[in-house]
């Protein structure tokens, strides 16, 4: 007979396929699978850590690069007629400043020959400065203040002692800060030979140094050290829904211009908990009823024998039992935040947005009891990585010198979580130190 109905042909063929005797698993199948599964899980755990490490490294590099750029731009902004506070190269007075200082501090009787000598010496110094360009290091606020104090002292003494060589001292002070071990073939003292300080020169230096202090404060770095408490809303069955973690944290950050700051941190939080799950097996009558129902169900789908075996095994079970879950969980939080501050040096409020990477270590021990007998313990350690966008609110209150009190709250919503954790609310308190 020829087939006119093509679908019927395929259906008969498919029917033949469906009648294939199912292949039963051999004893080694599970072992092989378990090994493959563990290997897969191990591999899967590695890449989020590597990814986060990569992101963290990039942020650090970005931070350093941005920091350097800030200094360079400030240096440019100060201009040629100021002391350059950002490098050893510029730690001494530059060419133009020298000219100005010399012009201001020498008498009108200074002749052209003297100027030529000075120019040549300045030129020599510039050449030498290029060699030490790689050793650039910013003068910090304290050092600049030190120089400023020196200038002021000289200013006071200047009126009574007109022969004081201001520029020698300034140069010595500035260069000694960073260039103690550096050999300069052309003695710096020769650069200014017979200069005498004037009030104009001192004021000029003071103004420039003050500018530098102001600019430097805008890129001030700080750290925050404190304790934190965190509420976690777990959805997983092993955990009670709300849990409080406790821990410590450290943030390092940098104030940028226009009230912005960026912040990187690390914190560790810990939780230990015990949960007992009690369960009761069905009574024998219910089991029989269940068998009947299952048979009907299985008849519908032609799977009678396999399911029937499974259901029959209910006959020899105990009726009560419990599972005790003991969990130790450690969170390592790696937050990155961008903050906008409102206020002044004494007190400020900020809002923050950022991201939170969380490395989770979980050690779980499950003890199963049926009746009074212990059916065995099971332990497992797991690592995972979670990632969440974060918003935050915080404030600083100055308490003593460079120290300030820091309070903050952060809310994070996890995008991925093997703990079925959806969000985290964290409160932090601690101290902030401004460099």
């Amino acid at each position: 007979m020829l087939y006119n109905n093509e679908d019927e042909y395929l259906k008969i063929f498919a029917g033949k396929i469906s009648k294939l005797n199912p292949r039963q698993p051999s004893s080694d199948e599970w072992t092989a699978f378990e090994m493959a599964y563990r290997k897969h899980k191990k591999q899967n755990k590695k890449w989020p850590l590597l990814l986060w490490f990569g992101i963290f490294s990039m942020l650090c590099v970005g931070l350093i690069y941005f920091s350097n750029n800030q200094k360079i731009s400030i240096e440019k902004a100060i201009g040629n007629n100021s002391l350059k506070a950002t490098s050893e190269n510029n730690a001494t007075i530059n060419k133009n400043t020298n000219k100005k200082l010399i012009g201001n501090t020498t008498t009108k009787a200074q002749n052209l020959n003297q100027n030529k000598v000075i120019d040549r010496n300045v030129s020599d110094y510039e050449n030498k400065s290029k060699q030490i360009e790689k050793l650039k290091n910013p003068l910090n606020k304290k050092e600049i203040i030190k120089v400023l104090s020196k200038v002021e002292l000289l200013s006071e003494s200047n009126t009574n002692k007109p022969d004081v060589k201001l520029n020698d001292n300034i140069l010595f002070e500035l260069t000694s800060l960073k260039l103690k071990s550096f050999q300069i073939s052309t003695p710096l003292k020769k650069i200014i030979t017979s200069t005498k300080p004037t009030n104009n020169a001192i004021n000029s230096i003071k103004t420039n140094v003050s500018n530098n202090i102001t600019k430097s404060s805008q890129i001030a770095k700080y750290f925050e050290l404190g304790i934190c408490i965190q509420n976690n809303n777990f959805k997983q069955l092993d955990y009670p829904s709300d849990q409080f973690f406790k821990g410590v944290g450290l943030n390092v950050g940098m104030h940028l211009q226009n009230n912005w700051s960026i912040n990187l941190g690390i914190s560790a939080l810990y939780l230990n908990q015990v949960k007992i799950d009690k369960f009761v097996f069905q009574t024998e009558e219910q089991q029989i009823e269940r068998i009947d129902t299952t048979i009907k169900y299985n008849n519908t789908y032609n799977r009678l024998m396999m399911e029937f075996d499974t259901v029959l095994s209910y006959k020899n079970v105990n009726h009560e039992g419990s599972s005790i879950y003991k969990n130790d969980i450690v969170f390592i939080h790696l937050p990155f935040q961008v903050r906008y501050h409102i206020g002044n040096e004494k007190r400020s409020v900020y809002v923050a947005i950022g991201a939170l990477g969380t490395i989770t270590y979980q050690s779980q021990n499950i003890t199963k009891n049926i009746g009074l007998s212990n059916e065995g313990n099971q332990s497992k350690d797991t690592y995972s990585f979670m990632f969440a966008p974060t918003i935050g609110l915080g404030c600083h209150q100055k308490i003593y010198k460079n120290w300030a009190l820091h309070l903050a709250s952060n809310y994070s919503k996890y995008l991925n979580s093997n703990l079925n954790q959806t969000n985290t609310f964290q409160l932090q308190t601690g101290l902030k130190y401004n460099f």
Binding site: L2, L10, A14, K16, L20, R23, E34, L237, D238
Partner: protein
């Protein structure tokens, strides 16, 4: 180990308890292997697909919401993963297979008995001899019972392509069946 209901097994697997994972693995191994072997060319390939499919299942079981039976859910995973494997192996699943048809001798008649007389093992052997694309279409349409529209969505092809591929697959299969019987006789 057979003292647990399906619900308990699922909960155990959610907790990544290896005892429950083993229970689920052994309970559904046969059915899932039957699916994988239909989509594969040989038993070794089927084993690999099955293993990867179970790994996917254990990783995704937390998302299982019991809207369908566990059997259906697992079957879906195995079918999808089989298709993915085939696609990865053969980017052009539905091209360059017409030439293969030339190697099969033509036949004018297809007796009903030819198919009816096939043993399940012979049917499987013929199915595995089909090119990947044809085998996938026959599986999805005739065994899994999907419509051409659903097949198109699953494989990322148009409904028309699905129909034409099935027609070609059917012709190819008939030739294989007829050829088998020719040699037997």
């Amino acid at each position: 180990m057979k003292d647990f209901t399906e619900q308990e097994i699922i909960l155990g697997c959610v907790k990544e308890d290896s005892r429950f994972q083993r229970l689920l693995f052994e309970k559904y191994y046969s059915k899932m292997f039957a699916i994988c072997i239909r989509f594969s060319q040989n038993e070794e390939e089927a084993k690999n697909i099955l293993q990867e499919g179970f790994i996917k299942a254990f990783e995704g079981i937390k998302k299982f919401k019991a809207e369908s039976s566990l059997n259906t859910w697992l079957s879906r995973i195995m079918v999808n993963h089989s298709i993915d494997c085939l696609k990865n192996r053969n980017k052009n699943l539905f091209s360059s297979i017409s030439e293969n048809m030339l190697t099969i001798p033509d036949s004018t008649e297809f007796e009903e008995e030819l198919v009816k007389d096939l043993s399940p093992e012979e049917a499987l052997d013929l199915l595995q001899k089909l090119p990947d694309g044809y085998r996938t279409i026959v599986n999805l349409y005739a065994v899994e019972g999907l419509s051409h529209k659903q097949i198109g969505e699953n494989l990322g092809i148009s409904e028309g392509t699905s129909k034409s591929q099935l027609s070609k697959a059917r012709t190819f299969l008939k030739k294989l069946v007829n050829n088998l019987n020719t040699y037997v006789v």
